[in-house]
């Protein structure tokens, strides 16, 4: 299965995302921000980093790139898209996902091994987990606090659109300890911690993150 990994100027974790796709048995294809051809990929990953320096707001400028103008309509039609960290921010800025990611409550960048609980295993990117499964993957960002208004929060909670929550102390002030969400259809997922950095215990805290990528391999499109 071919999975596109987008590189914006300032993207940092594209190689890691591609490695994770390969570890999961897929083929990673690099997509350049300035192109608008998705080359027939079966899914797209927006990796972490600081697209366009994250100046203005995280993900704000990336949203207007040519590649996003191809991804947005495709995602609306059901193409699986996973946004990790900065990718999650881009998905929110693109209105493919609701809410926004804001400054961590402790006001500084935080890199640590974070326990999260998968609370919805019906999305395209979480089907290889079981519900309630607890995993440890790296969290690393300065603006990872998930915020939205009460109505949106209600909608997310009552429609089972939260896919993962932080376990224990809320690391960044996210509402309801939300670590990741999905769109109504379940094909677009945003997650703040980094599953692509947990596919090999040699370089990550665990290999727990791999299931995000193997989930896609099992998704029927």
């Amino acid at each position: 299965m071919r999975v596109g990994v987008v590189t914006f100027p300032g993207t940092l974790d594209d190689h890691d995302a591609a490695r994770a796709v390969r570890f999961a048995g897929g083929e990673a294809l690099s997509l350049w921000h300035g192109d608008s051809d998705l080359q027939g990929v079966a899914g797209v990953i927006l990796p972490g980093g600081f697209s366009y320096g994250d100046y203005l707001r995280c993900g704000a400028i990336a949203r207007f790139s040519p590649i996003m103008s191809a991804i947005i309509p495709a995602a609306e039609k059901g193409l699986p898209v996973l946004g990790i960290c900065n990718g999650f921010q881009v998905l929110c800025e693109s209105h493919l996902l609701p809410g926004a990611l804001t400054r961590n409550s402790e006001l500084h960048f935080l890199c640590r091994d974070q326990e999260i609980e998968i609370v919805n295993n019906e999305s395209a990117w979480t089907s290889d987990f079981s519900n309630g499964e607890r995993i440890i993957i790296p969290l690393k960002n300065g603006e990872g606090s998930f915020q939205c208004d009460d109505r949106t929060l209600n909608e997310l909670e009552s429609n089972n659109r939260v896919i993962a929550r932080y376990v224990g102390l809320n690391p960044n002030g996210s509402r309801n300890s939300i670590a990741g969400i999905t769109n109504a259809r379940g094909n677009v997922v945003g997650v703040m911690p980094h599953p692509e950095h947990a596919v090999d215990p040699l370089t990550g805290p665990t290999a727990d993150g791999l299931a995000f990528f193997t989930s896609l391999m099992k998704t029927r499109i």
């Binding site: 704000a60 609701p98 804001t102 400054r103 409550s105 006001l107 915020q147 208004d149 002030g173």
Partner: protein
């Protein structure tokens, strides 16, 4: 020459940890005025080499609404200085 300033603030219901941190720091640093709240905002100072026409102002307003602020969490206002 003119400056068009777009002020962006977080909506009231959105958590503002930076504003809160400042509220907490003020008394610690010996300041005695006691605000009911402190919020941190952003501003964009757009300098033009001429007075902006109404077309330009409405373009700037569009930029403010789409690029410079995120309507999900922020609101904005525009002022012109000469």
């Amino acid at each position: 020459m003119a400056k068009v300033i777009v002020d962006v603030v977080l909506k009231d219901e959105i958590l503002d940890p930076q504003g809160d941190a400042i509220s907490r720091a003020l008394p610690r640093m010996g300041f005695t005025f006691s605000p009911t709240s402190v919020r941190q905002g952003k501003s964009f100072i757009i300098t033009l080499d001429h007075e902006p026409g109404s077309d330009e102002l409405s373009e700037i307003e569009k930029a403010a609404a789409t690029l410079l602020s995120n309507p999900v969490i922020e609101s904005f206002s525009i002022r012109v200085e000469n």
